[in-house]
């Protein structure tokens, strides 16, 4: 349990991240792939970050949170506020105020908006606001020992409530139109290929850092306890650990991870509105985890990217069928690939072994003689 990556894992992850972080941007810079493709992949990587946040809760701690899209969107909104102010006088109304505020009849910037001129402040809020919300909500939920499906329902309700709130114009968050028409970030033109490439690289690097951080968590004693909570919470309590505190920590960490993904998502897609904040998005992220392989860290990345490639293709080729394709994929994966794409090689190996062995010898050999 003490090495960060085994040799085999190290090579695999090395290859994946080399392609994502070096091959893709170079290919785009040398015009082998077009900027639109790179931009699309940048979006996928943001989704991969969201999927990791679902997985460290669901796959590692046994908490199925349907609120991760909320934290993702909140992070996006905090970044969006900064981006809105960076538009300056370039908006429709040629005002210093964001267009929607002018439209609502405001003549001066509301106080809560003022600090968002500062990028570091916006970054701080990306982490603080979702983190704080997760801490308060988690504290109340876990202290009352809310588990299983009740926890899922509560997180879903929280997301729904927040979306209703953001739909209101009085929130001064752009109502149902949200924020859009972004121009620059840190002086960089968001609509230029160079700007998009930088954002892509930032997303890839962030994904790498989050991946390594979560990987490190799994090999610490904390990681052992985290999985213990998933498998036998009663025993954890009777081993003297406050399961609630451990769950709260994971919940806060996962929410901040989701928010960071949302922060980079918004400048790449160019829009954020409350319809992102819904249960379907959280559920989709759950499907990505299941398809890629939950309880692993590379699984959610593979799942998020592959399901979204499928989605991009299907929504163009068979737009009416997409949800049915998604549903069927999910059912098939749950039934036949319980460990997802990542578990497929082992599954095939196991199947071949079973076919080779005589029926009398098929008694289970513990798969657990760990390396």
């Amino acid at each position: 349990m003490n090495t960060l990556l085994t040799k085999r894992e190290g090579i695999g992850f090395g290859v994946v991240f080399f392609i994502l972080l070096v091959v893709m941007p170079v290919a785009e810079a040398t015009k082998l792939i077009d900027p639109f493709t790179l931009n699309t992949w940048g979006k996928y990587l943001c989704y991969a970050i969201l999927a990791i946040s679902v997985d460290i809760l669901w796959g590692y701690t046994g908490l199925l949170s349907l609120g991760q899209a909320l934290f993702f969107t909140l992070g996006g909104y905090m970044m969006g506020m900064h981006l809105m102010l960076m538009i300056g006088k370039l908006g429709q109304y040629k005002s210093d105020l964001p267009d929607f505020l002018v439209f609502l009849g405001h003549t001066s910037l509301p106080t809560i908006w003022k600090p968002f001129y500062s990028f570091p402040f916006a970054l701080l809020m990306v982490i603080l606001l979702p983190g704080l919300l997760a801490a308060v909500f988690g504290f109340l939920a876990f202290r009352s020992r809310i588990k299983g499906v009740y926890f899922s329902i509560l997180t879903q309700a929280l997301t729904y409530g927040a979306a209703l709130l953001f739909f209101q114009n009085d929130m001064l968050m752009g109502g149902n139109n949200g924020f859009t028409d972004f121009r620059t970030l840190l002086g960089m033109d968001l609509r230029s290929p160079g700007g998009q490439r930088s954002l892509y690289l930032a997303t890839g690097l962030l994904l790498l850092c989050i991946f390594l951080f979560c990987k490190w968590l799994t090999i610490t004693k904390f990681g052992l306890i985290q999985r213990a909570v998933r498998d036998s919470e009663t025993r954890v309590l009777f081993s003297g650990y406050s399961a609630a505190n451990f769950k709260l920590f994971v919940f806060v960490v996962a929410s901040v991870i989701a928010a960071l993904g949302g922060m980079l998502f918004v400048p790449q897609v160019g829009i954020i509105n409350p319809s992102e904040m819904n249960t379907e998005h959280s559920l989709e992220a759950v499907v990505w985890c299941a398809v890629g392989g939950r309880g692993t860290l590379i699984g959610p990345i593979i799942g998020a990217v592959s399901v979204n490639i499928l989605k991009s293709w299907a929504t163009r080729a068979y737009p009416d069928w997409w949800l049915i394709i998604l549903g069927v994929t999910f059912i098939l994966v749950v039934l036949f690939m319980p460990r997802g794409i990542v578990g497929l090689p082992d599954q095939i190996k196991g199947l071949l072994n079973r076919m080779k062995r005589k029926p009398s010898e098929t008694a289970e050999i513990p798969t657990a003689i760990a390396p």
Binding site: A228, F238, S239, Y241, P366
Partner: protein, 255 residues
């Protein structure tokens, strides 16, 4: 002469579940270093009694004190555990997806904080203790197995090993021999006997051969309908009219 300090004293406990009185005016005292066996027919309240001690459920009335100074009633499961009260469940409850060694590691005494766990390292004395425990519970060659792959009896031993790793002052052992072969049962008995003296142990059991093995010259408490029916040596309780009556369900001729 001063009174021997009690390790555990429970007085006047009552607990009912939606009308059913599981524990009725139960008092129970345990001295340091005792190995006490608790027997009783199904529904006598044995497991509920352990639930009350370990904070899993709270009594309707009564008091439970540990080492004469800790009142257990306002505490929750993990706080009670941290006082040094370890519990083995009736059905083996181990971390099935963790290796045997990791199961023991998680049970080792020490910090239980979230942030400490991020940077926790095994101390050298802990690294020495683990093989010792593995030897005691006869799982040395299974150290790297996932606990879920162990045989039923081995899981039971692992769970006892986890209590040893914890260095519990009081071990509460619920039906350790359930589902075991005769030989495994005997070995479990030897294991518990080897722990007696250094630890205070309460064993709940059904199997009378096993009870005879571990309670030779020790006290046995019989529970019936939520309260203590009688108390004494194994021969004494086995010949007690009331015990025979509740166990065999026939009217005693003498009464």
């Amino acid at each position: 002469m001063s009174r021997t300090p009690m390790l555990l004293s429970a007085e006047g406990l009552n607990k009912s579940f939606s009308g059913f009185q599981a524990i009725k005016d139960l008092s129970f005292y345990l001295e340091h270093g005792e190995l006490r066996t608790v027997i009783g027919p199904n529904g006598a309240g044995k497991t509920t009694f352990l639930d009350l001690i370990t904070g899993r459920t709270k009594p309707d009335s009564g008091t439970i004190e540990f080492e004469d100074e800790h009142n257990l009633l306002p505490m929750n499961e993990f706080e009670i555990y941290r006082l040094g009260i370890g519990r083995k469940f009736q059905t083996p409850t181990v971390y099935t997806d963790h290796t045997v060694l990791e199961n023991l590691q998680l049970s080792l005494a020490g910090s239980r904080g979230v942030f400490r766990s991020l940077f926790a390292r095994l101390k050298s004395e802990e690294r020495d203790r683990l093989p010792e425990i593995l030897k005691t519970i006869k799982l040395t060659d299974r150290a790297q197995w996932k606990a879920g792959a162990l045989a039923h009896g081995q899981k039971q031993w692992l769970e006892i090993g986890m209590l040893l790793a914890q260095d519990a002052k009081l071990l509460l052992v619920d039906e350790p021999a359930a589902g075991m072969t005769d030989e495994e049962t005997h070995r479990t008995g030897e294991l518990l006997l080897s722990l007696a003296g250094n630890h205070t142990i309460v064993v709940i059991e059904h199997d009378m051969t096993f009870v005879r093995q571990i309670s030779e010259g020790r006290r046995v408490t019989v529970l019936h309908q939520g309260s203590v029916l009688c108390d004494g040596s194994v021969d004494h309780v086995q010949n007690d009219e009331r015990v025979i009556e509740v166990y065999l369900g026939r009217k005693s001729k003498a009464s």
